[in-house]
């Protein structure tokens, strides 16, 4: 760094000493009080081009005020040069400051750019990995959602099936309508049970008699004026609606010795109509079991 040392301006080293010597030489021309004589001025080696101007008469006063400082006015060519240099410096400082604040990569060196590029690549790789991880996660979650949805749909189907079986849901579909007229009131509960059994045997999936939904534990009891089903008194004519295969049920009721013949022999009359879209709308309230609990499921 000796180069930079040599380039110093007014530094304390060699140049400074040279000038101190110079100064001493100059001060040798002055009187002991440090006030230089006016004739010494043109011989100033620092400003050889400084023309003696009208300001010269005040010069001794200046020197007396600051005996060691340089003469400041009027500015010599050297001082103007200094001012210009400082102006350039100020300009450069401002420009460089602005530049540094403004641009990011433009003023960087190749090695810095390589480093930044490297960092960016590493970051990109990291982000890629993270994206892949998140995609996998998303896939898993989605398939999990699918499984959940499938299970939910299955549960819903099962609920519907069980609801129809238990009579808690209305049912619709093809089936038959059986109307039993009984002018002499000679139809007994046993006959209605036989009818229900026959319908069940023929594949009826939902049965309703009058306003009563017929389920597994529906009871028929002979009443004073008709038949009491599940506590509801039914009066003739008895109206059955059964959802199932209409042809099978109709033929099952029609067979010789079957339900219709029995009814006819008892003085009643049963009429069967088939329909493609009948509705079993009567519902049945299901009480939650008080004692029974689901047994732990055995693995299949």
């Amino acid at each position: 760094m000796s180069v930079a040392d040599d380039a110093t301006g007014g530094a304390p080293d060699r140049e400074g000493r040279e000038y101190r010597d110079d100064r001493e030489r100059r001060e040798a021309d002055t009187d002991p009080a440090g006030i230089p004589a006016v004739p010494a001025e043109p011989a100033d080696p620092a400003d050889p081009l400084d023309p003696p101007g009208p300001a010269d008469p005040v010069d001794p006063v200046d020197r007396a005020d600051s005996p060691r400082g340089p003469r400041l006015w009027p500015p010599g060519r050297g001082q103007v040069l200094v001012a210009v240099l400082l102006a350039v410096l100020g300009f450069a400082v401002v420009v460089q400051t602005r530049q540094t604040r403004e641009d990011g990569l433009q003023s960087l060196r190749q090695s810095d750019l390589v480093r930044i590029f490297d960092n960016l690549q590493q970051q990109s790789t990291r982000l890629d990995e993270e994206a892949q991880r998140l995609e996998r996660e998303q896939l898993e979650l989605r398939s999990g959602t699918d499984r959940t949805a499938a299970a939910e749909a299955a549960a819903r189907r099962r609920l519907e099936v069980l609801g129809i079986l238990a009579g808690t849901l209305p049912a619709t579909g093809p089936g038959i309508r059986l109307r039993i007229t009984d002018p002499d009131n000679r139809v007994t509960a046993a006959m209605l049970i036989d009818t229900v059994q026959e319908l069940r045997d023929a594949g009826a999936e939902a049965i309703q008699v009058g306003p009563v939904r017929v389920v597994a534990n529906t009871s028929f009891v002979d009443g004073p004026d008709g038949v009491v089903a599940d506590g509801t008194e039914l009066r003739p004519p008895y109206e059955f609606v059964a959802i199932g295969d209409p042809a099978t049920m109709k033929s099952a009721l029609d067979i010789p010795g079957g339900v219709l013949e029995t009814l006819r022999s008892g003085g009643a009359e049963g009429v069967v109509d088939t329909g493609t879209s009948l509705t079993v709308s009567a519902l049945r309230q299901v009480k939650a079991p008080q004692y029974a609990r689901p047994a732990p499921a055995r693995s299949p």
């Binding site: 000038y19 340089p70 050297g78 001012a83 450069a92 420009v95 460089q96």
Partner: protein, 110 residues
């Protein structure tokens, strides 16, 4: 006096004109500025010491800038530009500090 005025004019000009540094100058301008600052502090110290001289200042200013830029240029071409720039800045910073210390002793006598 006129020097301070020149500095002020330069700053104002930079603020007003808002030029962009040309690409070939970009690596060298910061170092040149630091080198020039070193020269300015040296000149300030010399002024307080009473040994300031315009010619010396001018020469040292220009040579500082040129040498600093030259070092960076050389470093860039040798592949050690960043390290050399750091070294130059460190050295110039040390010199600026020592000059500032001298100036401080002159002004505050401490």
């Amino acid at each position: 006096m006129i020097a301070a005025l020149g500095l002020l004019i330069g700053v104002v000009a930079g603020l007003v004109l808002q030029p962009t540094v040309p690409g070939w100058l970009q690596p060298y301008l910061p170092i040149a500025v630091v080198a020039a600052l070193d020269a300015v502090f040296g000149g300030l110290r010399a002024m307080l010491d009473g040994i300031f001289d315009d010619r010396v200042f001018t020469v040292s200013f220009l040579s500082n800038v040129v040498v600093a830029a030259l070092i960076v240029f050389l470093g860039d071409h040798l592949g050690v530009g960043a390290q050399l720039s750091t070294g130059v800045v460190v050295v110039l910073g040390i010199r600026i500090f020592s000059n500032a210390a001298a100036i401080r002793r002159h002004i505050f006598k401490a």
